[in-house]
C-alpha cells in the first residue's frame, strides 16, 4: 500500500504551515492554490518581475510574509504543488480541480481546507457604480499590481483592514478623500481588554490612525452610509453619509468598502461539513473541533474556518495538519506532538479572543443593512433591489434564504451569494421580524467559482 494521500487546498499562511507539517511527517501532500505564487491574499506577491521588496509590500508584517514565502519555497521537491488551479467541487472523497480548461478528480485520505477569506460587504445605495471595490480588492490592486483603484479614493466600512488599506494608499502616494467607519469609537474602548491580547497589533492600529490623521485624511467614526453617487458612464463621483445627525458629502472617483472578511466556506459546505450560526458575527460557520477536525476526513485551517487573522492561520493550519496526521496514525513522536499541540491551542485561544474583540469593536452594521432603502440594489450580479427581495418575503411568502433566492434571484448570479448572502439574510429577517438564524443559509452548490462548459476531464 502506498502512503496516504493528503490534499491541502490553499497556499496562504494556513496552507503553507499545513504543508510543512505534513511533509515533515514524510508524506508528499498535494498543495492546490488558485494563485500563481504562494502567500495567500494577506501575503500575496506581485508578479516575478516586480521589484518592490517585502518591507515595502507588507510593512510591519514583512518578516512573517518573508518567512511564509521562504518556508514554502523550501518545500520544493517534498510536495506536489499545483498553482493557478481551482478546486471547483468536493464530492465522494475526491476534489475536482480545474486548470487550463482541464479537470480531474483526485482522491484523498485527508483533505485540509485552508481556503481563506473574502471581503464581507454590505450593500449601500449606489454601490453598483463602476469604481466601487471591496477593501480587499483595493488592497490587492496595490499589493500585487502596484496601482490604486482611483485618483481620489473614499474608504467606507469598518474593521482593521479599513485603516490598514487607507494607510497603505496614503503611503503609496494616493489621494485618500476620507475614511468613513460605521462603528462608533466607544466600541473600541469597550473591546480594549480583548484587543490587548495582541498588544503589538493594537499598537499598530493606533499608529495607522495617527498616520492617517497626520496625512490630513478626514477619519469619521459612527457614520451611516446614505448613498454612493455616480452614473453609468463615469462611475463613482462621491459618497454621502450621515454623521452626528448631519449629512456629509465627500467627492471621489472610487470607493473601497468592506466590513472585515468572512470565510470562503463553500468547499467545506460541498464536503458536507456541518454549519452552525455564530451570534457574534451574525453568520453561519463551518464546524470543526478545536484542532480543525470537521469529520469525513476533512480538516479546516485558517480564516476559511473562522476569521482570526494571518497569525492565527499559521497556528490553525499546523493544528489541522497535526490532527490529520494523528488520525492517519502518523504521529512521529506523541509526547513532542502533545506539547506542540498544547502551545498551538493556547496561541489559537489568544487570537480567537483578539478576533472577538475586533468583532465587538467593529461590528457588522446589521441595522443599517436591514433598513436599506427599497430602491437600493442588494444583489449586484442580478441587479435585484431590496424592494424585490422584500416582496418575495411579503407577497410570495419566502421564509428563508433559499426560497427568497428562488423567487427574487438574489444570490443567483456569478458570485453565488458570496457578496449579497449576508445582507439578504438580514433583510429577510427584518421583513419577517424574526431572528437572523431563522432565515437559514444559502445552500452551497458547485462550482465554487465559474467553470467553462469547455472543461474537459483528463483523468479517465
Amino acid at each position: 500500500m502506498g502512503k496516504p494521500a493528503v490534499i491541502i487546498i490553499g497556499a496562504g499562511p494556513a496552507g503553507v504551515r499545513a504543508a510543512q507539517t505534513v511533509a515533515r511527517a514524510g508524506l508528499r501532500p498535494i498543495v492546490i492554490d488558485e494563485a500563481a505564487r504562494a502567500g495567500g491574499q494577506i501575503y500575496r506577491r506581485p508578479p516575478e518581475n516586480f521589484t518592490r521588496n517585502h518591507a515595502e509590500l507588507y510593512g510591519s508584517e514583512a518578516a512573517r510574509a518573508q518567512a511564509i514565502h521562504q518556508d514554502f519555497a523550501a518545500l520544493e521537491g517534498q510536495i506536489d504543488y499545483r498553482p493557478e488551479t481551482l478546486v471547483w467541487n468536493v464530492a465522494d472523497g475526491h476534489v475536482w480541480t480545474a486548470k487550463d480548461g482541464e479537470t480531474q478528480a483526485i482522491a484523498y485520505d485527508a483533505l485540509i481546507i485552508c481556503s481563506g477569506a473574502s471581503d464581507r460587504v454590505a450593500p449601500v445605495k449606489g454601490w453598483q457604480a463602476a469604481g466601487c471595490y471591496s477593501l480587499g480588492g483595493a488592497q490587492i490592486a496595490l499589493k500585487a499590481q502596484g496601482c490604486a483603484i482611483g485618483h481620489q479614493v473614499i474608504f467606507l466600512g469598518s474593521g482593521p483592514l479599513l485603516y490598514l488599506a487607507a494607510a497603505q494608499y496614503v503611503k503609496a502616494g494616493a489621494d485618500v478623500a476620507a475614511v468613513l467607519d460605521t462603528s462608533p469609537f466607544w466600541l473600541r474602548v469597550k473591546a480594549a481588554p480583548k484587543l490587548a491580547e495582541c498588544p503589538d497589533l493594537l499598537w499598530q492600529g493606533v499608529k495607522l490612525l495617527a498616520d492617517l490623521k497626520r496625512a490630513g485624511v478626514p477619519v469619521l467614526t459612527g457614520v451611516e452610509p446614505v448613498e454612493i453617487h455616480g452614473d453609468p458612464q463615469s462611475g463613482v463621483s462621491g459618497v454621502t453619509v450621515r454623521h452626528k445627525g448631519a449629512s456629509k458629502h465627500f467627492a471621489g472617483d472610487a470607493v473601497a468598502m468592506g466590513w472585515h472578511v468572512k470565510p470562503e466556506a463553500q468547499l467545506a459546505d460541498l464536503a458536507r461539513v456541518p454549519f452552525a450560526f455564530d451570534a457574534l458575527t451574525r453568520q453561519w460557520l463551518p464546524q470543526s473541533d478545536a484542532q480543525g477536525r470537521a469529520g469525513n476526513k476533512v480538516y479546516l485551517g485558517g480564516d476559511g474556518a473562522k476569521v482570526a487573522g494571518a497569525r492565527s492561520a499559521e497556528v490553525t493550519g499546523e493544528l489541522a495538519a497535526m490532527a490529520a496526521l494523528a488520525d492517519l496514525g502518523l504521529s512521529v513522536n506523541a509526547a513532542v506532538d502533545a506539547d506542540r499541540r498544547r502551545w498551538l491551542l493556547s496561541e489559537k485561544a489568544r487570537y480567537v479572543r483578539f478576533a472577538q474583540g475586533l468583532a465587538q469593536a467593529f461590528p457588522w452594521p446589521h441595522h443599517m443593512v436591514a433598513a436599506i432603502p427599497d430602491e437600493a440594489i442588494v444583489c449586484r450580479c442580478e441587479a435585484v433591489t431590496a424592494a424585490t427581495l422584500r416582496a418575495s418575503v411579503q407577497s410570495a411568502h419566502a421564509q428563508e434564504a433559499n426560497r427568497a433566492k428562488a423567487f427574487s434571484r438574489v444570490g443567483m448570479g456569478r458570485c453565488q451569494g458570496r457578496y449579497c448572502g449576508h445582507a439578504s439574510a438580514e433583510i429577510i429577517a427584518a421583513a419577517r421580524a424574526v431572528p437572523l438564524e431563522e432565515t437559514g443559509r444559502l445552500r452551497g452548490q458547485a462550482p465554487v467559482k465559474p467553470i467553462p462548459v469547455a472543461l474537459k476531464r483528463i483523468d479517465l
Binding site: 464530492a91 410570495a396 448570479g413 458547485a446 462550482p447 465559474p450 467553470i451 462548459v453 469547455a454 476531464r457
Partner: protein, 380 residues
C-alpha cells in the same frame, strides 16, 4: 385534541400536480387542502429543466399535453402572475451517426399532426439557417413552433397562491405520516399530531407517493433519481427554442434553453440516485462533465460560456416511465397522480385540470387508461 381540518378534497404533496389540481378544483367551487411536507414546488416541480415541450411524448399523451399547452399560454391571466412562459418553440435534433432517426421523426410528425401538434422537419441548410448555433454533427431537427419553456421555480408556487386566492387551503411544513379511510372519509395525521379529513384524497407526492399509496394497499415501486442540471452566466438573449437530442443513449440526451435574463440552462445526460428519505439529491461532478461533453457537440458555441451553478432534485420513476394517474384500484374516493418519471413539468397543469375534472365529474375526455394503477396492482 386539536380540531380536525376538513375540506372536500385532501391533496398530499404540494408540487405542480397537487397545486394545479387544487387551483382547478377551487375554480369549480370545490374546496381543497394541499398538505406539503416542505414548501410547495420545492422538489422535482421546482428543480426540473423547465421544458414545456409536447413532441417526443407518447402519441396517446398528446391530448393531455395539448390541454396543458393551452393552460401555459394563458398562465399569466389565469394565475395573475408571471411564470416566465416563453413560447420560443422546441427543437429535437438527431446526430449524423443515427440517420435512422429522420424516419422516426417523420413517422412521429405524421401521428402528432392528427393530434393537433404541428412539427416541421428541417435538414441541412434550412436547419442551419434557422438555428446557426447547432453543431456540424447535427443531421436533422424536428421543430415545434408552439412549445417553449417556463420557470419551474415559479410555476408551482404561483398555482398554489392562485388556488389560495380562490379559497384553497395550502398547508406547508406539514408531513402526513398516517392516512386511512374511516367510514366515508379519509383521516390524515401529520407528524405533529394535527389531523385533516376529507371524503376525497389525491396523492401527488412525487417520489414519496409510492409509499403513501402503499398505506392503501397499492404499493408502487418508484425509483428516486436526480437530474443533472447546470446554468451558465447570462449572455445576450439569442436562442428562442428549447433544444434537445433524440437518441436511445441516455448519456447523449442533453438539452438546453436560454431564459429571458440571458442565462442558459443545461440539462439531461446521466441522472444520479436521489435520497427521498433524507430530502437530498446531489449532482455528481462526473455527470456534469459528460453533460458538458455532449452539449459541446450539440451547440459548440456554448463551450465559451461559464457555468455558475449546478443543481438537482428528487424525481420518482415508475418501471415503465409512465405516470400513475387516475382513480385507485382498491379504495373509492382515492385518486393518484404521481410517478411522472422526469417528464411531468409540461403536462403538470393539464394533469391538474384533468384530475379536478375527474374528481368533480367522475369522468374526463382525456385518455388516461395508459396511466392506470392496475399496471402495478390488481383491482379489488
Amino acid at each position: 385534541m386539536s380540531q380536525i381540518v376538513k375540506s372536500d378534497v385532501a391533496i398530499i404533496g404540494g408540487g405542480l400536480m397537487g397545486c394545479s389540481t387544487a387551483f382547478f378544483l377551487a375554480q369549480r367551487g370545490i374546496s381543497a387542502m394541499v398538505l406539503e411536507t416542505d414548501k410547495v414546488g420545492r422538489q422535482a416541480s421546482g428543480t426540473n429543466f423547465g421544458n414545456v415541450r409536447r413532441q417526443g411524448r407518447p402519441i396517446f399523451q398528446l391530448p393531455l399535453a395539448n390541454r396543458a399547452s393551452r393552460i401555459w399560454r394563458n398562465a399569466r391571466e389565469l394565475l395573475g402572475e408571471d411564470v416566465e412562459y416563453l413560447q420560443g418553440g422546441h427543437i429535437r435534433v438527431c446526430f449524423r451517426e443515427r440517420p435512422e432517426n429522420i424516419g422516426k421523426m417523420e413517422e412521429y410528425a405524421a401521428l402528432a399532426r392528427e393530434e393537433g401538434l404541428d412539427l416541421e422537419l428541417l435538414t441541412s441548410n434550412a436547419l442551419r439557417e434557422k438555428f446557426p448555433w447547432l453543431g456540424p454533427d447535427v443531421l436533422a431537427g424536428s421543430y415545434s413552433a408552439s412549445d417553449g419553456h417556463a420557470n419551474p421555480r415559479l410555476a408551482a408556487p404561483a398555482f398554489a397562491r392562485a388556488a389560495a386566492r380562490l379559497g384553497a387551503n395550502i398547508v406547508e411544513d406539514t408531513q402526513i405520516v398516517h392516512a386511512e379511510k374511516q367510514g366515508e372519509d379519509f383521516l390524515l395525521t401529520a407528524k405533529d399530531g394535527r389531523r385533516f379529513s376529507a371524503p376525497v384524497l389525491l396523492i401527488t407526492a412525487g417520489a414519496w407517493a409510492g409509499k403513501i399509496a402503499g398505506w392503501f394497499g397499492e404499493t408502487i415501486p418508484l425509483t428516486p433519481r436526480a437530474p443533472t442540471l447546470s446554468v451558465t452566466e447570462p449572455v445576450p438573449y439569442a436562442i428562442a427554442p428549447a433544444v434537445g437530442v433524440m437518441t436511445p443513449d441516455e448519456v447523449e440526451t442533453v438539452y438546453f434553453r436560454q431564459v429571458a435574463r440571458g442565462n442558459i440552462v443545461l440539462g439531461g445526460s446521466t441522472r444520479a440516485p436521489s435520497y427521498p428519505d433524507d430530502y437530498r439529491a446531489y449532482v455528481l461532478p462526473q455527470n456534469s462533465m459528460t453533460q458538458f461533453e455532449h452539449l459541446r457537440r450539440l451547440a459548440p458555441a456554448l463551450s465559451r460560456l461559464q457555468v455558475i451553478r449546478v443543481w438537482s432534485g428528487i424525481e420518482g420513476y415508475t418501471d415503465d416511465s409512465l405516470p400513475v394517474m387516475g382513480p385507485s384500484a382498491k379504495v373509492s374516493g382515492l385518486f393518484h397522480a404521481f410517478g411522472f418519471s422526469g417528464s411531468g413539468f409540461q403536462i403538470g397543469p393539464g394533469v391538474g385540470e384533468t384530475m379536478a375534472e375527474l374528481i368533480a365529474t367522475g369522468t374526463t375526455d382525456i385518455p388516461i387508461a395508459p396511466y392506470s394503477i392496475t399496471r402495478f396492482v390488481d383491482r379489488d
